[in-house]
Structure formats: C-alpha cells, structure tokens
C-alpha cells in the first residue's frame, strides 16, 4: 500500500503539489487526471523518489520512503516507471535495455523473463535493434517491457501515450491494460485524457493547481 500524507512540493515559492493526501491499495489501478501544470507528474516523481517533498510523508508498504529529511533511493522502491518519452538508453539495444532492469536475477532467469516480455510485447524481432532503429510505437513497447521486467510492486505511467496518433494510442493502451491486469503490481496512471483514465483505471483522482479536487 502507498500512502501520501499532506505532501507539498514547492519550487522556490510556487507549490506544484499542495497538501495532497492519497492512499493506493495493493493491486489498485489509480488514474490521476488533470490539466497541464496541475502537479500530476510531480506526484509520480515524488512517489518514485525522483523529487524530495517540501512537506509531508510518503510510505510504501508501511515503510517511510520520503520525508523532507530522508529519502529511500529510487532503485530501492520496487517501482517501474514509464515516462512521457520512451527514455531508452541509446547505447544499448532492445535486449540490453530490458536486461538492465533484470540484473538482480540470475542470467538464466533474466533471459527467460526477457523472452517472455519480448513475446508479450510482440517485439521479438527487435531484440538486437538500437533505439534509433525503432518506430515510436515499438519504442513504447520496449519502454513498457522494461518497466514490467523486474515485476515491481508499483507501476507508474506518466502520460505514456502523449505524442502518439490515435490508432497507436488504442494499441498501446490495450497493451498496458492487459499487462497491468496480468501483473500483481499496483498502478498509478497520469493523464489529462478522461477517456484514457476511464479505460485503464478502477479509480480516478482529479488534480487542479496541485490539489485534489472532487471528481
């Protein structure tokens, strides 16, 4: 379970997130909906440990992971993050991009998991390609595979369909929904698109000016 208690994040004097409290139960699928600049991405980054809160506490499974004075490093939080851009490392091919997330496992286990993910995402033929050789849709699939690879307890999606055309959006959204359902992970999905949020999440939270507002 993830708990955000009175979380505030200020940049200089501007509060991007203002006293937000949220609870995300195990296996829950939550969508955070809101316009640009409402603080959606900042909340995801705070949960991932990529930002330090100015005020408040974040706990994951009862363990305090973020306060203004203490921080559990991002790699120790068991989160998978899908960014707005695929964020694939250009010096690694598809296989290595995914294997990088599997380095805790034995080589045999990692290979097995890699094959499984390549099959699930229908990108088996792409395993030796480099990011510059992939189309936008293919890169998103690799990015999703990488996030799912270590079976994280929490999956974070930061507007993963932004900049994609309608057809590809439907394609990738279905892929995300299927894979999240099949995994044991909780999910937080950030978007400004109401249809996307409804299609993928059980619960929706609305954000405006850094605060949770009634739906």
């Amino acid at each position: 379970m993830i708990e955000l208690v009175n979380i505030t994040k200020k940049y200089d004097t501007v509060a991007a997130v203002n006293r937000v409290s949220l609870t995300i139960a195990d296996h829950a699928r939550l969508a955070i909906l809101g316009p640009s600049g409402s603080g959606k991405t900042t909340i995801l980054r705070l949960i991932a440990g990529l930002e330090i809160p100015t005020e408040g506490t974040i706990t994951i499974d009862g363990k305090v992971v973020s306060t203004p004075d203490s921080l559990v490093m991002p790699s120790e939080r068991s989160v998978g993050f899908v960014f707005q851009t695929p964020a694939l490392w250009p010096h690694m091919n598809v296989e290595r991009n995914i294997l990088f997330a599997l380095q805790e496992q034995s080589p045999d286990e990692a290979r097995k998991r890699l094959d499984e993910l390549l099959g699930q995402m229908a990108i088996k033929d792409l395993r030796y390609r480099f990011p510059y050789q992939l189309s936008g849709g293919e890169a998103r699939r690799v990015s999703l595979a990488r996030a799912l690879a270590p079976n994280p307890s929490l999956l974070l999606f930061d507007e993963p369909l932004i900049h994609l055309d309608e057809e590809l959006k439907t394609d990738i959204l279905t892929l995300i929904a299927d894979n999240v359902k099949a995994s044991a992970s909780s999910m937080i999905y950030v978007t400004h698109d109401k249809r996307e949020a409804e299609a993928i999440a059980d619960t929706t939270v609305r954000l405006k000016n850094g605060q949770v507002v009634p739906s």
Binding site: L50, M73, P74, F81, F83, W89, P90, H91, Q103, P150
Partner: protein
Amino acid sequence: MAGMLSFFQKCRSCISQRTIVYVVCLLAFFIIVFGPLLGLFLDLIKTLLSGSGKITLSLLFSERKIVLLGESVGLALAVSIAGIGVGIAIATLLWQTGKKITYSILLLLLALAPIPPYIYALTWSTTLYALNQFLASIGAALVPSTGWVISFWVQLMALLPLAIFLSYIGLASVDKTLVEAARTIRSDGRVLREIILPLAAPSLLVACGFLFLISITDYSVPSLFGSDTYALDIFAQFSASNSPSATFISAIPLLIVTIAVLILCRSGIRKLAQTPNWMVGSWDTPPEFPTSFQSIQKGAFALLAVQMMVIFFGLVFSVGSWNKFVSTVLFSVNQLQYSCLVVIAVVLITIPFSLLVAHELMNQNARSSLWWLIILIPIAIPSPLIGIGIISFWNIPTLSFLYGTSLMPIFASVSRFAPYAVIILFVQYRFIDPVLFDAVKVFSRDIIDEWFEVKIPLLAPGLLIASGVVAALTLGELGATIVVVPPGHETLTIKIYNYLHYGASAEVTGLCLIMAIVTFIIGLCAVSSILWWRRRGILNQAVPRIGDLNE
C-alpha cells in the same frame, strides 16, 4: 562594351547591396583569421620553388624532434586525461549539492578559467619553494622544482577550472529522463558507470580533446619549469632561423597531431553547441555513490580547494605591501594601457565578424561539417606559428603600412580567439526561437531597426559573454603576440613572462595579481550577464531546429 554593361547591371539586380556587404565582411574575417596560415603556405611554396637549401627533411624527422613530440603529446595527454578524471569526480560531487551551490561553483570556475597559466606557474613555484624549505628543515627529500612532473602538475592546476566545467557540461549533456529511467532500477553507482559515463563519453572525449589542444599548443608553463615542448621548439626554431617556411615545416608533425584531434572532436563540439541543454543538468534528488567513489570525489575536491588557495594566497602574500603593489601598478601603466587598447580592438573586430560567421553556420546544413572544421582550425595551431604566419602574410611591400604596427598583435589575437567567439555566438543563436527572426523579417522596414531593436537585444547575452571570453584570452595571450608586437610596445603578459624568467619577485607577483584581478572581473561580468538573462528566461532552453545533427 554594351554587353558587359548589361552583364554588370544584371549582376547588380541579382545581388543585393546587403549580400555584397555580407560577403565582404566574411571575406575580411577569413583574411584576418586564416591569413597567417595562408602566409605560411605561400612562403613555403615560394621557398620550395626557389630550391632553398634551408628546407630539409631533418626539420621534419630528427630523433630529437620525435622524442620532443612524444614528450609533448605525453604531457598533453596526461594533463587532459587527469583533468577530465578530476573533473568527473567534482562534477558528480556537485550533483550531491543544491542547485544554487552547484551554479555558484560552476560560475566561479568559469571566472577562474581565463586566468593565464603562467600565473599558476608563479604561485606554484612560490608554494613549492616554501614547501621545499620546510622539507629541508626536517631533513626530508625535496620535491623537484623543474621537469615534466612539475610541468604536468602546474598545467593540470591551470586547466582544472576549465576541466571541471567541461566535465560538468559533458555529464549534464546526458538526457535527464534517461538517467531517471535508470535510477528507478539500479543504484546510483551503477547508473553512473553503465548509463551516464557511456552516454557522456562523446562529450567527455570532446572536453578531453579540447584540453589536449590547449595543453599541447601552450609552452609557457613547461618552459618556465625547464621542460622543452614542441610548441616552444617552434618559437626557438624561428628565433634561430628567422625562416617562416623552415619553422612551418618543423611544425608539421605537431600540426598533424592537433588537426587529427580536432577532426576527432569536431562533430562532438558541433553536437554540444547545437544541443546546449547542459544548463538544466542538476539532479532533483541527490545521488548516493559507493564509499570508494565518494573518497575519490573528496580527494578531487581537496585538490580544487588547494588549487584555489594557492592562487589566492600565493598572489596576495607574495605581493608584499600595499605600497609595493601600488608602485608596481604605476610602474606598469604603459603596459596596462597598451594591453587595454589591444583588448578593446580585438573585441571590436572579433565580435561583429564572429556574429556573421555564427549566423552563416546556422544556415549551413549539408556543408556545416566542413564549415565547423574550418572555423575550429585556429584552435589547433600553436600560438607561435600564428605569430610567424602573421609576419609571412603581412610583411609584404604592398601591406608595409600595416606591418609593424599595433594591428599585428591585434590580428594575432583575433586569429587565435575568433573560433571561441563563433562557438559562443552559435550557442546563443540556438537559444533563440527562429520564429522571432522570421517575425523581424516580416515586420521590420530597415536593417538598422532589425538589428538594433530586435536582433542585438536577443543576442546580447552571447555578445557579452563572447566579448568577455575574447577579452580575457587576449589579455593573457603570449605565444603569438611576443612574435609580432611592434618595437617599443609591450603587453602586460609579455612583461610578466619576461620577468618570470628571473624568478618570482614582489613586482612580478604584483603584475600577476593585476592580471588575475582583471581576468577574474571580466569572467565575473560574463557570468553575471548569463545570470541576468537567465532570470529573464532568455537562456533557459535551446530551441531545436529541423535538420539538427545531420552530418
């Protein structure tokens, strides 16, 4: 006759007055910057055609030359690799501090970077003298005060501010999202090793190449510590033979090395200049590196602290009393005035021309790779060779009214430092949305309005920073100026360099202190202008263009 007249009228209607001015200015720029090289080539051809016996293969390949080249390359390699190593350790340490501290330290380094290397030579020799006195008093072995090791050390210390700054830029050029994507999966130590360093490698290589070029073309530090380098040998060769062509021939092995390094780095310099997103390079949550790496970071930081203390205390304490300092200033008023005049003239010539070239670089897509190489070539030329080339090019009967005047040291600095101004102004162009320039074309009625109301204000930060950098570098220029300075004139740098050969005295320290203060103030002004414009949102993000990075 009528046909000819109609041809000229046709030409006149095709080519606007503006284009003619533009082409003439570009041509003038290339004559000043590349005149020295052209002069050397022409002199060489003339000598070869006349069958002069002075030109022999021994100038190219004597055993002494090969050893000297090897030693010079070794020194430059050691300095550049060590500089980048220390730079990486300190740059990663800066990630662990707040943004304000990071920027303050980077800006301080930027202000320290233009302080000429011979000032470091002075402060380190003073420190070494004190250290050896102490070691002698306790009966310990003394630290060698001449030779390659001390030359390496002092050159490393002199280039450290620039090395750290370039390393930071190299590391920060890695896309932040790629780093964050890795941080959610792996520890920061592994992220650094497996993601950041491989991705930053091309930029770090450029930084290393840049330091290598500065180190191998400078002879002031090694010569002061009794080490012969190839760059010094070029100067010595000319002093002995007074033959530009023989000197040029003897410089060819060094030129092959420097131009090869430049070709290797050219594409990287261009990419870094095209995507200058290093302004937003700090981390939102501080990284946690392994203990062993933290020790390296602390060691590197201690080195930087020692470097700063040596330059500060070395100058302040050795200068003696306030009265001595004032008398030194008064004693060098002529040199100060002359240096100021040269600096002002260099800036006034370099900046407008460099702006034109930067503008031309923005318009060159398919050919830009070749353009970049041409623009960067002066960086790879050892400074004495530029001075000698100036003599070859300008010392002809038709130009005798210019030769032997103060224009020569001015042209020497323009030729050496124009590439830096072009790069800075190119980067500045990248921060401006091209739509703003398109809008000027639509709404402006005349060229004066276009430039003074819109373009110059938009380009102002780059213009000021480029002016600052060129001014600071010109103030410390030695290798080319010493060859071409007219009789009866002396820059502050030449005076200091001549005095330094007689050891450190209160007068020399006083002069160095003046030089350090002036360059630091120039650096500080450039840095302040960056901050001023950043606060106004002008220097926040480079604007990508269509066709970026296409070879």
